[in-house]
Structures are given as C-alpha cells and as structure tokens.
Subunit: 439 residues, 4 copies
Amino acid sequence: MTEFFKSIEPIQFEGTDSTNPLAFHHYDPDRMILGKSMKEHLRFSACYWHNFVWPGADVFGAGTFERPWHQPGNAMELAQLKADLAFEFFTKLNVPYYCFHDTDVAPEGQSLKEYADNFSAMVDMLERKQQETGVRLLWGTANAFSNPRYMAGAGSNPDPKVFAYAATQIFHAMGATQRLGGENYVLWGGREGYETLLNTDLRQERKQLGRLMQMVVEHKHKIGFNGTILIEPKPQEPTKHQYDYDCATVYGFLKQFGLENEIKVNIEANHATLAGHSFHHEVATALSLGIFGSIDTNRGDAQLGWDTDQFPNSVEENTLVMYEILKAGGFTTGGLNFDAKLRRPSIDAADLFYGHIGGMDTMALALERAADMIENDQLARHIAQRYADWGQDLGNDILSGHHTLASLAQYAVNNNIAPQKVSGQQEYLENLVNRFIYR
Amino acid sequence: MTEFFKSIEPIQFEGTDSTNPLAFHHYDPDRMILGKSMKEHLRFSACYWHNFVWPGADVFGAGTFERPWHQPGNAMELAQLKADLAFEFFTKLNVPYYCFHDTDVAPEGQSLKEYADNFSAMVDMLERKQQETGVRLLWGTANAFSNPRYMAGAGSNPDPKVFAYAATQIFHAMGATQRLGGENYVLWGGREGYETLLNTDLRQERKQLGRLMQMVVEHKHKIGFNGTILIEPKPQEPTKHQYDYDCATVYGFLKQFGLENEIKVNIEANHATLAGHSFHHEVATALSLGIFGSIDTNRGDAQLGWDTDQFPNSVEENTLVMYEILKAGGFTTGGLNFDAKLRRPSIDAADLFYGHIGGMDTMALALERAADMIENDQLARHIAQRYADWGQDLGNDILSGHHTLASLAQYAVNNNIAPQKVSGQQEYLENLVNRFIYR
Amino acid sequence: MTEFFKSIEPIQFEGTDSTNPLAFHHYDPDRMILGKSMKEHLRFSACYWHNFVWPGADVFGAGTFERPWHQPGNAMELAQLKADLAFEFFTKLNVPYYCFHDTDVAPEGQSLKEYADNFSAMVDMLERKQQETGVRLLWGTANAFSNPRYMAGAGSNPDPKVFAYAATQIFHAMGATQRLGGENYVLWGGREGYETLLNTDLRQERKQLGRLMQMVVEHKHKIGFNGTILIEPKPQEPTKHQYDYDCATVYGFLKQFGLENEIKVNIEANHATLAGHSFHHEVATALSLGIFGSIDTNRGDAQLGWDTDQFPNSVEENTLVMYEILKAGGFTTGGLNFDAKLRRPSIDAADLFYGHIGGMDTMALALERAADMIENDQLARHIAQRYADWGQDLGNDILSGHHTLASLAQYAVNNNIAPQKVSGQQEYLENLVNRFIYR
Amino acid sequence: MTEFFKSIEPIQFEGTDSTNPLAFHHYDPDRMILGKSMKEHLRFSACYWHNFVWPGADVFGAGTFERPWHQPGNAMELAQLKADLAFEFFTKLNVPYYCFHDTDVAPEGQSLKEYADNFSAMVDMLERKQQETGVRLLWGTANAFSNPRYMAGAGSNPDPKVFAYAATQIFHAMGATQRLGGENYVLWGGREGYETLLNTDLRQERKQLGRLMQMVVEHKHKIGFNGTILIEPKPQEPTKHQYDYDCATVYGFLKQFGLENEIKVNIEANHATLAGHSFHHEVATALSLGIFGSIDTNRGDAQLGWDTDQFPNSVEENTLVMYEILKAGGFTTGGLNFDAKLRRPSIDAADLFYGHIGGMDTMALALERAADMIENDQLARHIAQRYADWGQDLGNDILSGHHTLASLAQYAVNNNIAPQKVSGQQEYLENLVNRFIYR
C-alpha cells in the first residue's frame, strides 16, 4: 500500500464559514431537501478512467502525473494497487458511487482469454472493495475505442471480427456490472462514427450499430439485469463525426430500431456543448423525449473545441439542469458522475480532491437553488399560463385531430382571427431565476 | 415596365475560353451526361425571396439595393412590377425553375381575407407568367416567420390562434403550389424553436408541430397534390434553437409522428455548416435515412456564425455532394435552388446575374466531375471491398440475428479472434477524388 | 408626451427579500464598498441605440416593438418625443449615464448641412434634458456604418469622399460630446473591415484608418476635450472581418501609428466571445497592455455565432471581470454601459426595465463579490508567490539583460538544473473563487 | 536497415494521365513557371515530428503505427534507424527540405549534458545524411512543450529555471540549425499561454517572452546565423490561450519589444482556422504587416475545434494563398512545410507517401493557377482601380496630413459631398478566380 493519499483526511461537510479547501462547504450528504437527502438526490459518482488511468498526457506532451500505479511493474499487481487507492479515494471523498470501463480496472492481456481472466480476477477484488467500503457501482462499460483494433470503430467496424471482439468485451462488462450490482450499463461509441465519408457506408454502419444495441438489450433481459442501458451521446472526437451526435439524434436512432423504450441517454455537459447545445438543452430535450437517464457533469470550455472534461463550477448553469431533473421527479437509476479530469498541471494528490469537492459543492448548491425554485414554482406556472389556450376549444380542436388544414383555414377566415402579440418576458424570467440563485 | 434588366442579354453557354462574365462557362443546358441533359440533372431554381424581396439590409445597416419595386407606391402594382422583373430575370438567366413564399409575391394585407385575395390575384399572374416563359415552379411555401405575429413561433406558438393563422397561410400556399404545378411544397420553420427554455414547454411545442405536419400530409392527399412535402432543417437563427436542427433530428421527429415515408428534407448547405456538419454529411445522411428530397445550394462562410447565404463557388465541395446524389439516382421532384443572396455591397442588376452564373457553373462542373467518378466508380468499389466481410458467414450471422451477445462472445473466445488492422487510406482516397476534379 | 412609461415607477433598491420585479435587489447606489459608493464604482450607462432606435427587427422578421416614436410623423418631432422618453427612462431606471450615436438622436437629413442642423438642435435639447435630470453622458459616437454610403467602410472606404463624410460626422459628434460633458468618445468601426479579400487592399485600408485615428487624437487635443478616446474591438459582423478584431489586435494597430498612449479600448462582452476569447480574457489583456478604458457589458450566447447583445446575467463571469477592474484601481473615465437589447419577443415597456434591472443587479453582485476577493486577496498572493523566483537572482539576471542566450545555457549546464514541477492548482483556485461568490 | 520503405520506388512526375497513386500528377519539379522552377517556387519540406515521432495515438487511443523505430531498444540506435529511414523517405519523396525539433532527432537523456551529447551526435549524423542525399534543412526548432517540465510554459514559466532549461535547448537547436545550413529558425510556443487566468500574471509572462525573443535575436546576430527567425502563431491547444494567437497579435508583440524587423511568422493553415481566420487572411495580413516568413500548409477540418493537421487538398483555397505569395515576390528563406499527419487509421508506409504526394500536387496546382492569375492580373488591376481616388487630390490631402478633422469637415460641408455607392462586385471576382482555377 502506498502513502499516496495518506495525508488526506476524509472530506467532511464544514459549511460556508469554513475556509478549509479539503472540506465540503455546501454538500451536506444527510441534509433533507424536498423529502430526500442530498446524497439520495445527487447520487454522486467518481470515475476510474480520468482519475486512475489517464497519465496527464495530451497530444502535445507526455504524462505529468507519475502516479505510483503508472510506474513499471507487474500489470495485475499495479491494477490491484490502483484499485486499493481508487477505493481509498472514493471513500475519503465520500461519493456513494463509482464507475469504470473494463480496461480501466484490469490489464487487457494478449488475447480474449487473458482479458477475461484478468477482468474476472479484478471484478472479484472490486466486489470485495465494494463490500468493505460501501461504495456502489453507478455503471460499468466496455472500452471499445482505445485499443488500435478499434481505430475504425467497434460495432460500426468494416470487419465483423472487430464487432465480435467488442461484443465479447460488452458481454463481460455487462456481466461484471450485474455481478457488482451496477445500476446502469453505459455504451459510449467513442469510434462509432467516421473519419471520412470517402471510405464509409453510412447505411451499413448504422445497421451494424442497430443490431449491436438490440443484442445488448436482448442480453440484458436474458440475464435479468435490472439496471438501465444508457447511450452517451457525443458529436465528434476522437472521430470526425460520431453517430450518437446528440439526444435528438439518438432518439431517431432508437426509434428506427424499436429501442426507444429500452435505452436512455447518459448526457455529458461537455458533449452537449461540443454538439452546439447548452447542457440545459440536452437535459430538457431528453426529458421531453422520455429518454433521460443519467449525467456526466463535466463541463467544457466555451472557447475550446475539444472535450476538456473539467469539473463543473457553474451554479448558474447547473441550477437550471437540476431544476429540470427535479421537476421530472429526480434520478431513478441515474446519477451525477464526474467524468472529469484534472488540468494537466494539477499534479498533486490533493488536486484530485479539490476538483471533486468543487464539483460536488457546485451541484449541491444547484440542487438547493433548484429545490427552492420547485417549492414556489413560478416558472412552471408562468409556462402553464403561457400555453393555457391550448387547453381551450380551439387548441383542443387542433390537437385532437378535429380540424383539418382546410377546416382550420376556414375557421380562421370566418372568424377573421388577428392574434395579439404577448411578451415572451425572457429578461423577467432570467431575473427570476437569479433571484433564486442569489437570494 | 422598368428598364432594370434591359442591358442584360439572355445568358448563353460560351465555354471555358470565353471571358464574358455574363455567360456560362460550364453550364451547357443540353449537354448530355450519363444519359440526361445537364438541365435535367441539375434542375436549377432561383428564388423570389433574396432576389426580389430582401432590400440589402442587415442588422447594422439599411437596404443598399433600392430596386424599382422597393420604391413607395401601390402594393399590388409593385407586386406586379416585381413579378414582371422576376420572370424577366428567370428567363434571361435560363433557370427552368423558381420558388417563392406566399408573402414574397403578394402583399400580406390587413386581414386574412385581404391576404387571400391579394395572393390569389398574384397567383393568377404567376400562372400567366409561367405559361408565357416556360419557367416552372420547383416549390412554394408560406412565410410564417417574418410577421411580428410569429415572433414566438407559428405551429409551435403558445397561442393556437397563431397556429390557425399559419395553417391558413399554408392552406393557401399549398393550393397555389398545386395550381402552379409546383413539384414540391416546403416547410421551413423559421421560428419553430425557442428563444429561452425558461418560457418553453418542449413537449407541448413538439406535439403541436407534429400535428401540423400531419395536417399538411393529410391535406396533400386530400387535394391530390403529387409533389413532395419537404422540411428544411436549420439549427438556429433567427431563434436560439430550432426544432428541425439537422437531418438526423428531423428523422427522429418524422419517426415519432409516423411521417418518415411522407416527408423528405430540403437541405441547405449553409444550414448544414451552421449545425456543425459538412454539406456532404447532411446529404449523405439524408440519403442513408431515405429522406433526401431537394437542395438549397447556398454556401456559408466557415469563419462566420450566421447564415450568409452566399452563392456556391466550391467545385471541390459540391463534386462530392453531386456524387452522392447521382449515386442515389439523381433528383426526382427536387432540384438545386439558389436560396442565395448577393453581398450587401453588390448593388448592381448585373450582380444578380454574376452570383447565379457563378453558382450554376460551379454546380455544372461538380456534376461533370461527379459523373466521371460514377463512370469509373473506384470509390464505390473501394467501399464495397472494405465491408466485404459483412457479406460472409460471421457478418451474416451477426446481422441476421443468428448470434446473441453471449453466442458471439463464445464464438470470439473459442476462435481466439485477433482482428488485423487495415489502413483506412483516407489520403489515398482524397487524392483519388482530386484526380477526378483536376484531371 | 406619451404615456409609454407612465405605469412604471422609478426603480428603487428593495433588497433581496423583495419579490418586486421592478426593483433593484442588489444594486444599492449609495452603499459604500471599498471606500466608494456602488454608483461611483459601477458608473452604469444605458444606450439610446438598442432601447430607442432598434425596432425589434431581425434578418428574418419585421420590427415587433411598434414604439410611439416609430410611428409615421415629422422626423424632428419624433426625435424630440424619443428624447423625452429616453430621459424619462434613464431617470426612472436611475442610471447616472447614457450614451448615443449622432444618428440615434437626430434625423440624418438629406445633406451634411441638414445633418449638422438637426444634430445641433437635438444636442441643445439633450443639454437641457441632462440639466433637468442630472443624467450625464458617458460617451458619444458617430454612426458611420448604417447608412448605405458606408457599405464598404467609412475610414477604410475606397472612396476618400466617404472618408470625408465620416470625418464630418466624427467632427460633429466629438463637438457634441465635448459640449455635453461626455467623459469619453468612442470609435466603433462597424464596417472597417472587408467582405472579401478579392477586392481589398489591406495595407491601404490600414493606412487610411491609422490616419483617421491620428486626426481624431489631434482634434481632441486641439479642442481641449478632456475625455478618453476609445476603440471598440469587434472581430466580425456586419463585415466578414473587422480590423479591430480584439484587444491584442488593436494594441498592434495603436503601436504602429504611435497611438498606444492616446487611445484605449471599450470592451464588449459579446465581442470578446465572438473573437474566441472570454470576456475576462479581453479585460485582463487590455489591462496588461495598459489600454483598458470602458465596458459594454452585454453578453452573447455561447451557442450562437452572432452578436445577441443580451443583458448580463452571470455573476460568476462578471465577478472575475470586476475583480480585474478593481485590482487595477477601478474605472477612470470609463463605465459599465448596457449596449444590450431586448429579445425580439420582449415587447413591453416593462421589459426595457427588466433587462436593465437584471443587468444592474448582476453587476452589483459581481462588484460586491469582487470587493470581497480584493479585501482578502488570496488570488493575488497566490500569483505573487507563484512567480516569486523571478524576483530572485536567476530571474533578475534573465530579465535585466545580464544573461545572453549563451551565458544562460552555460549556467544551466554547469548547474545541471532540473526544475521541479509545481501544481498549477487550477481547481483549488476555482473553488476559492466560488467560495467568495457563494459564501 | 529495415525494409520499411523498400517497396516504395522514388516518386516521379507522371502527369495527369497517370493513375499511379505513387506518382506526382501535377508537381513537376523542374517545370518553369514565371521564370523559376516549381521546385524553387514551392520549396517543399517534410517534417520529422508527425512522420517519425508521433505513434498514431490520440487522447482516446493508443498508437496505431507501430513503426520499427517505435519498438523497444537502445535509444540512440533507434534514433539512428529513424534518421536513416527519414532520409530514405525525404529522398524517395523528392522534397528538397526537411525540418525538425531537437528532441525529434535525438533522445532527451536524463540531464542537460546527456541532451547536448545525444543531440550533437545526431546532428553529426544528420549532416552526413544531408551531404549524402542533398536534402537540406528548411528550419530547426526546440521542443519546449512536450516534456512535463514545460507543463506551465517554457519562456513564460513561473520558474526561471524552466526558462533557463528552454533557453539551453534553443541555444543548442540554433547552433545545430546553423551548422546544418538551416534557412530559418522557428519558435513555436506550444505552452506559452495560460490554462487559467486565476494563476497567471499576463504582464509578467509577456515580459519574460519578450526578453526570450530578444535573446534569440541577439544570439542570432552574435553567431552570424543568416537565416530568418520565425514565430509560429497558434491561438490555443494545448493551452487554453496561447500568446502568439494570430499574425495581428504577434505583430503587436513584436512592436512592443522592438522586434518587428527581426522576426517574421511561420503561418500554419490549421492554426489560422483555429484562430477564426481563413488561411488566406493570415497570409495576406502578415504580408501587409511586413512579417510574412514561411508556411506550414497543413489544413484543419472546418467542423472540428482542434488541430487535425491534415494534408492540404484544396486547390481552391491554396490558389489564393499562392497568389498572395507570388504577388509579394515569392518565398525568400521560407518554404512550404507539411507539418501534417496521417489520419490515425492510415497505418501503412505507403500512406506517408499518399499524404505528401496529395499535398504536393495540390500546392503545385495552386502555384500554376496563381501564376496564371499573376500573368494577367485582373484582380490587381481591379483593386488598383477601386482605390484610385486615394491617389487624387482629396485622398492625398487626407493621407499626407494636410487635412485636420476640422478642415476636412469644412471641406465636406462646403462641397456638399454626396458619395456615390459603387458595387463591390464580390460575386464577379469570385467567378473570375474560378475561371482561372477551372479554365
């Protein structure tokens, strides 16, 4: 056991007066809000991937982190060291959940057999660590994008053997997720897209992906996995174009393959902004389409065109997101995962804590402000009032199918309708929201 | 009759040796390519809107064009003057098609009745002009976005009376389109979106729009309109977010309302790029989803975040677009419309011709190069070869549903599969395309 | 006198407990912060342009506002009505400053003589209104971009007569600004850029602009104008490329023409983001280059590529901006102007107040939080510590010029230097800032 | 010696009729154009960095290339193998120039001494390879961004020891460049920027960078290096903001430190587009400011927000770039370098050739078309005519300083000037350019 996190004490709630950077100032896990504890509302999760796999490298430079488990050594021993430290981190951070890719936790090995053996051994260890610590699994997933074999896609690869390889990883990762009591299983198609249309058959690749999603859903039912299957939309990066571009695109895909009641979305804030949407938009859109599942809360940088995966720090932005989620009844199997990474120069063990503490306090504040908005839901009343006429005669006649285009035109001319403009009051509503945030 | 276009002679094909800027250098209407004339392939259309309605204003400055029909006067007389000049323009430009919004061609009037009367009178005139000139109607549409009554949407408006007003315009515009032999009817929901989520009920607005689209389709069948109904995707502008964001989004919308076999898309190059896609991508996507209809070929500016609606001038970009269209069998009811506008300082009558001539020559060159690519379709063979294994045993077993996730994983482990990487050869293929363009 | 604003009472500070949307909740003009009143710190200004000139039109639709002064009538009488209502608005809003373009306040007329006469008459009226109300002029400017004559630029126009026309307007606008006690004079080159490089001589246009700026500075000294000359950077829109792209670009321009001590910048938040920068970046950059002057605080929309000119509503963003300004000693002649416009559907007179109240409360909160940060300036201490070694031997030897490249390389090898990595602590610092904002 | 490139024959010009993908179709090195050979005009260079250092990794996946020199082994032996293969590549590709970073060609070692020794030994070898092959050095540079020590900048680092380390590398790289007859020395400040303003002193970092640039220039003169010092602008990536954002920004920096006659720019196409500019714009801007030096011709992807570094394939775009360069007299010490990389799935040795061949043919075509434009320079005449009045009385009086603002206003009013609008003819000019490209 290394001393990597030794100097860090478990993070406690100390309130807004505390200046201790290694304490929560707003996240008070047991505080009750709208009848549930903050912990139950927020369902925080930390990830294996950015915290324990990424070495702090970028395209222009080598890894800066030099963690103990990044040193040379026996792969399985390093994986165990990593797991020990990961659970020490999750526990000290006091997150109830974590999540992982198969290849985050176990060495890939040189063959599928080695992969399966390594992964199985590490799942045994994760099971023990979960029992010891009480940390639970929000979701598992398979990494079918990092290995060079996936350079032209996994499910959408021109080679069916690559599809089969990915399917095998998914089979094992779903099994591991079920065994570890995971509440969701995530599919992020990191390379399910194209680099150039010149060598791509869009129709064929879509058919392949559709079949893969169906196989995953069939398998879920066969093994009796109770969790939710989630697709994580992303518009591009690493590929030039990714097929699960955004929530609206995923919805069309699910409809085509009859999966709209089987699969939901895991929305990442930074993926939303890369797709040209606000995070708020993607959450509201998924809710309106009935496919909202879970959240990766990592923010992007409005000036940069790649996935910076920063920790959330905007209460303003996230209050609106939490308001939508609360209004829809809150999370079911989903949660708030930090698929976030430190800035490359943030090399200290303490930085891992600072990032997550800031993110958790931000989301706790957002929850608190959103709950206030819900308790006196002026926004909802304003919206209901705005559309009230759709509950009256003309509105009903239109939506119910009573009116044809011709009969409606006749009605309009006969009644010489002349609709009155009504202010949209955007500025008034923006001020209203700020009054909740800065009360 | 004014002398506005008097000095311009009808535009003729003069070939590449000509330096006459008021001649075609590549568009030779009757030249046969792959068994059809250029004219039949390209189905060029010019628009009323940008050429004869827009005064050359932008958000920061007043109109620069000062056309004869923009001067003060009797509204119907000015509309007639405009129609005379528009058909003089279409004829001299030698485009076989034109297109219009209802309010482009006739004054809106002060009531729905005046609107209907004015429009009807102008449709009479358009019918005569079409007969006199042989110019045909590619599509008609209703402008349900410019009048202040539509400031919060037309079909998606919180007020059902506004929905009814728009429906009335659509009813008349569909009737006019049918009467004028239009080959398509277009729906562009310029304000069907939101300015802020704070005052918006996404689910409600989507339901309204879905019903409107169904009414349009039902009406089409009732009146026996043979043309195609088209939705024109656009991600934003004038609204912050528009519901028909891009082709993939429209596909999901059509699936939800059971309209995927009834409505196709009219793709605008500049709307594609505003949505974060290449024009090529949107065309290829629509074709792969079976919803490709028609094209507005106006380009954007890669450095600007608004709809610049410039004339196309890239043969490189459009060769790939025409290649996709030719490979799919070419246009049926659709065509190549220039929904393009002059730069605000291009104030001369001749500039209207320069813009369209450049666009037509660009698309003619693109057609010619694409036809060469089709005749010796190395790209198609390359792609077929790349996916060839999906036609073999393993590929068939996966796509046919023979394999479950579990059986496939078992297969993979038993056979210890280790897929070989194969180069994607993007650079090779890019060079191949350039060899066709610069032969 | 119309009753347009009659129902609106003067806006008062009512504190955070008030739910009155027509009251300030944070802006308490006389509250002392760091030894100055909020009013003196913030120096709020409202603009004539968006509030009283823009009709609520956009590129796709007609004006929605239909204000009394937008109705048909005698131009000078309407200008007087507008001035009366503008000052009623400024007074009820309780902003100490306003600003205008020459053509906002007076009709342009048909000739330069008419222009000068109209403008002079309206300046008389503005002078009276200022005396009656106590509202003062933050800055004046000339509109040399809206009239069609400026379609190819004003100072950078290929026609020297257009340069002369613009110079005449600037001459009069500077005179009016001086007479009205304006504290700054602003130059925004709305069309000082290019639409296409194909017809543009960059070197020539830059020379013209350089001479124009020199003439303005010379004139300022000749007439004894005590205010500051400000350039307002913007990267594009309406032109494809504008020469005063951002603060760093303006700095290079000023250096070339020897004006870096004569002209400062008026930074607009939305122009910063259009240029690919954060607002914070542009303010910090201008301060570091010694050219910071004033602010237009209107925000953009991160998903839209044009100038949305929305009222500021992010305390998070503006706290950092105010922190930079306070740290540098606060505004001198500059202030916080709202060059912001209502959303097009916000058509009520009250909406004009909601927008400004929200903006003023946002900036007041930002001031308050920034002042807290300054009082216990942990950020500044952190930064000072981070660069401390540059005050030691090696750092001094490098910056003072003691070391050549060769001597420094020799030193490095001789001492076998091996610098230690130190965490950048970005997440820690982001949390620190949030602790000030959400204390 | 490995057989890596064995199957590739030296690339020959075969003309447009050839379908050999491993031949030039347009680049005919000895063909004379405007009195110089294509080879002398274009001065092609290939880079060490992307071709021989980058393993085909991206942020989401491991290296796909698995080159012989990426295998485990003795670092110096692998460096020698790499150099042998690099020169085999340069020779077979028939590029007259190459370029490198110090750490591309030699192992960094564990200390500055090891670094210097390794580098010196490899420079000996490069010198021999240059003599054997006739390949020459376009430029050398130092990599002061990849090693973790540079995570917070090199010259702009808060630690002067890091500055000293970087200065040592630059000292050696300049020496190597001089010894190898390099024609330029390049400075790309990959990390000379900030990740967050919260921990950054902009003024201090700018001062440090200014001093570093001065040291480089002083050293150049001291050692008698005849080449040009070049700064390569880039707006961001890897850092959030890079100080040498674009050409206009670099110009301001050079002016501040008195270096505008000493340092020029190396413009990369992809960096231009990341900065929000067209490549054409950056080249034209640098030429107009007198700081144009050299080019990295690698293109970006208009839909992606990171540096994709693709090979150029647009003749349309590059014709305008070459037109500007030819019009200014062509390259002096600069050239056309391919700082381009293969797509990650392009894993074959042949792909390295395809990429460069496509790029070289593209630029050769661009040169040819641009030369045609120059021979009958209608664009230049059009521009001269457009600004002709600036050579007449009023224009001269303004630019010469004869007119003050007041005298010019007086002149304008006295003469009642009323400038006439003249069409900008953008569409006409775009057609003109296309007539040269598609003649």
